[in-house]
Symmetry: C2
Subunit: 414 residues, 2 copies
Amino acid sequence: MRAEIITIGDELLIGQVVDTNSAWMAERLNEQGIELYQITSVHDSKPHIIAALDEAFSRVDIVLTTGGLGPTADDITKHVLCEYFATRLVEDPAVHAHILQLYAHRPDVLNRLTATQWLVPETAKILPNRVGSAPLMIFHRGQQILASMPGVPYEMKIAMEEQVLPYINNFNFQTLNLKSQIIHRTLQVNDIPESSLAILLEEYEEAMPSGLHLAYLPKDGIIRLRLSSYGELSEEQMNLWFNRLKELVHEYMIADTDEPLEVIVGRLLRERGATIATAESCTGGKLAALLNKHAGSSSFYFGSIVSYDNSVKTRLLSVPEEMIAEHGVVSEPVVRRMAESACRQLGTDFAIATSGVAGPGGGSDEKPVGTVWIAWTTPGSTTAQCFQLGKLREQITDRACQKALVQMIRILQS
Amino acid sequence: MRAEIITIGDELLIGQVVDTNSAWMAERLNEQGIELYQITSVHDSKPHIIAALDEAFSRVDIVLTTGGLGPTADDITKHVLCEYFATRLVEDPAVHAHILQLYAHRPDVLNRLTATQWLVPETAKILPNRVGSAPLMIFHRGQQILASMPGVPYEMKIAMEEQVLPYINNFNFQTLNLKSQIIHRTLQVNDIPESSLAILLEEYEEAMPSGLHLAYLPKDGIIRLRLSSYGELSEEQMNLWFNRLKELVHEYMIADTDEPLEVIVGRLLRERGATIATAESCTGGKLAALLNKHAGSSSFYFGSIVSYDNSVKTRLLSVPEEMIAEHGVVSEPVVRRMAESACRQLGTDFAIATSGVAGPGGGSDEKPVGTVWIAWTTPGSTTAQCFQLGKLREQITDRACQKALVQMIRILQS
């Protein structure tokens, strides 16, 4: 069972919007044992959408489209689908009632353009869109199926989870019964070049059976290694091969899951009932935002003092002005003091502090753009390390957060 | 002149990586007057890549590929391109020398897999990759052109800006001379439903000439209105139509550019030489990270006290425990006190504070998940407002940042 995604919207093709939907949808499809074959982004254009539909239906069983379902003139997906499936728009009383209820407190929205939202293709199966006005539409075409969803990420996510995926699974089960088990296993390693890792795993890769695939996903020094089987290996066989892989990379491994680093830190802190705070200069709140990104963070994450301006380091983190004058603000003594003060001021067991030159300005020969000092305070001690993290502002701050979290994981695992 | 992007990598199709490259590339191409027709994401598979190349070359003049250029066995793009363009791999002395220099301080990387990186297709034009080991390859096919770049975002960005775009522009100029002027103009409005806006603009849209396109891009309450012309209208005509549009939406407009909200806030603060701080509970550092995301933020952004845990609100933001006990932590008095304390403690002219229920836990009948209080302190006064921002954690915190910035823009514009 294979699927494709077609994302519809000029905004994707002029770079006004980053397509975060597809990766999320890809993950859900894979979890369900549905292989995603291709993602295609097309314009709000009838011939373009129709060409993409034709091509997708020539390759796969399930086509998922997002976008182009708003009430305004630039949104044409519903009309194009009507034409493609040779049907016409009719009023849907259930959608009508839902929209009246949705906007009961906002009568200004109930105008004649919104009224076009309860017109739906006659032959489509309409699923309820709990959080928006655009109808979720399913079209059947022999043994093939198309689902059309809104492009707004949170509407799409609720539509997929509550309506579209259950519908597709039921359809598969009843009509095709072809569902194969897709299994992915991922681990993360650090401190080894990709090519050296590949040489280390050469014998392992040669011995792998033909249905097993190994992928290297490097990002900023961390490499994720992913084993995949598309219906050919059993869970047991996968475990066997994954365990062998873990043994081989053991000394470089930081996690045997695909969890984000901040989730691993959170899990390790919760396991020991410990708390953490941050004091951030160059990362400017990014590390804090990562640590509380996921539900449940309030049990281990207390807060951060983002001391972007030096006066804040002095006022709130007790960094003496003389220390800054003597060593510079991007220095070991300053970052150590920041971490220790954060621990004390916020009353936590652990703390991380960052101070660096994120650029593009502020670099010097001695401390060029990309120089970042990071310190980690634990109940017993404080350690600090200096990194060179590249040349671009976003890359430097992302990598600083990553280095901060990797070392925190090592500390919590030791 | 039209282009397509083909992103190559299994990781995109199992959702392990969000494709941020394409939007960035799309923006650069549009700036250069090159229309991006389609984006296609394919597997690391020879037949799949070849099919995608054939299809793209049947539609456009320029094909840009990213990914699949690493030294490991799962990366096959270079080999597939060799076969597609009927050439063979040969050693490139310049690439060889560059890689030796790149890893001069890391001899462990210079193993035999890395050595495959200086093998390049014989007929390809090789452009220097300043920051990585994968060669940048250009293939010509009659009047058509293909550029292959790494998928690692910062490597791709440097490759595009320094090498590929200048090469393509030169190629266009010399061989085709077809470059048409693509013009986009975007403004942002707030506090009006999309359908009401469309009705307000109905006469305007009917009067628009055929070469002019208007798109509505709603996101979390803000709607960006984009006027586009693909080579049909002059700069002057576009200005005329854009000015008319601005007049029509004047009372809802928050910006007549496509700049992110935090950039607008930064610009307005710099214009008056003022500074800002934040005190964040539910947004947990996200607002701080936004405000210092862009270069130059140190001139107006001082820092943040991220008080995720209540003890931090009491200790660092002088919120009395009795106030929390009486009104709850998500309340007007608490968020006002947070903003005022942030202003005073960090010594800034303005401050923003947030306190809300980001969920999934912590909601009550009175204050359900999604309830967020925001306060703005100015040199003269403090105002506060309560919002209901949805049900999903990420959506709630994103929207809270957005509401905080929109109101700050209004304050700074008044």
